[in-house]
Assembly symmetry: C2
Homo-oligomer: 196 residues x 2
């Protein structure tokens, strides 16, 4: 599995990713054009196509960028205590700022296209695998230290990601930001029941 | 809340719904046309427009139809034992036949359009509300009979639907039919932890 932090966005790439983020939140996925991203970037579409041949390639890179952002935010966490690290992971996955709903909407549109767009599906699979890897690592660490029960860490990680993905879908489809709070509570209840 | 079984599909309506089901599974949502539904129906597009003005109206009716099918399948269950009824509900929500993935794909596309299409969002909200109502009823029944702990039935129902929606999203995005099995196991683990 490739380490997502080996992909790096800096300089123009990072500026294009930030422009994509703003354009996606404003226009959604269906109405997104390279022109609209260029408008946010403040340069021509040619300046974008210099880095990314197609819109699909750019959006696939954007999914890499989102994972990189997530990993970076987790890296900043200094605690090595398994219980605290699990809490931080779940908080980061589920306690989204309310003004992030626009991004969740655009991402659900991209997720629904995964069966048709290989580049999207590959990214969603890689991102899921990487986050499950982080969850499994902290669960196994807790088992080794004797603070968690000896559970099937792979299953518990998949279960927690099911709760996370359910919350994100429900937040968009039902227009409920409380879906994330419900899922955060559910994730704690589930983890407590399984790990202790 | 309207009882979804009061909406009824019979005669031509039911035949159009069955045709829509086949067309959606074959072509997906983005490539669905009234012509393609008419082809499955074996009649002209005019015969469909006699019943439904627009494709969106037809698809909104299709979401009603799916709920009706679900409710009908639950009605057939004769047991009144709360534990057995909860098992049947979760089985029906999560143990989909494998060849149903095409329908899940089309529905996730429709779900991702809920923020843009009022008729879809209304249906998804109603369907979710009805299924949560059924889950709450069985949980409260179990509490009354003393077989379940005195939990917050509304929260547990929302938590279970979060697991269900997560599984459906993951089955489509990650092309994993095992997502439904993982979620079925997770739902049992969660219900056992909360209710007993």
């Amino acid at each position: 599995m490739a380490d997502p932090t080996e992909r790096s966005f800096s300089g123009p790439s990072e500026q294009i990713m930030r422009a994509t983020y703003r354009a996606l939140r404003e226009h959604g996925y269906a109405d997104l054009t390279v022109q609209r991203i260029a408008d946010e970037y403040g340069k021509s579409t040619a300046a974008i196509h210099y880095h990314y041949d197609t819109k699909e390639e750019l959006l696939a890179a954007f999914l890499d960028y989102l994972l990189e952002q997530f990993v970076a935010s987790i890296r900043e966490v200094e605690t090595t205590d398994p219980e605290e690290r699990l809490t931080v992971l779940l908080d980061t996955l589920l306690v989204e700022p309310e003004d992030n709903l626009d991004l969740l909407i655009a991402i659900l549109e991209m997720r629904s296209q995964a069966p048709y767009k290989e580049a999207f599906r590959t990214r969603f699979e890689q991102n899921d695998e990487y986050i499950r890897y982080m969850l499994k690592a902290v669960i196994n660490h807790g088992i080794d230290e004797g603070v968690f029960d000896d559970v099937d860490a792979d299953h518990v990680a998949r279960a927690l990601m099911t709760i996370v993905d359910g919350a994100r879908t429900r937040a968009v489809v039902l227009d409920e930001t409380t879906a994330l709070e419900t899922a955060r509570r559910t994730a704690t209840e589930y983890a407590d029941a399984m790990l202790r």
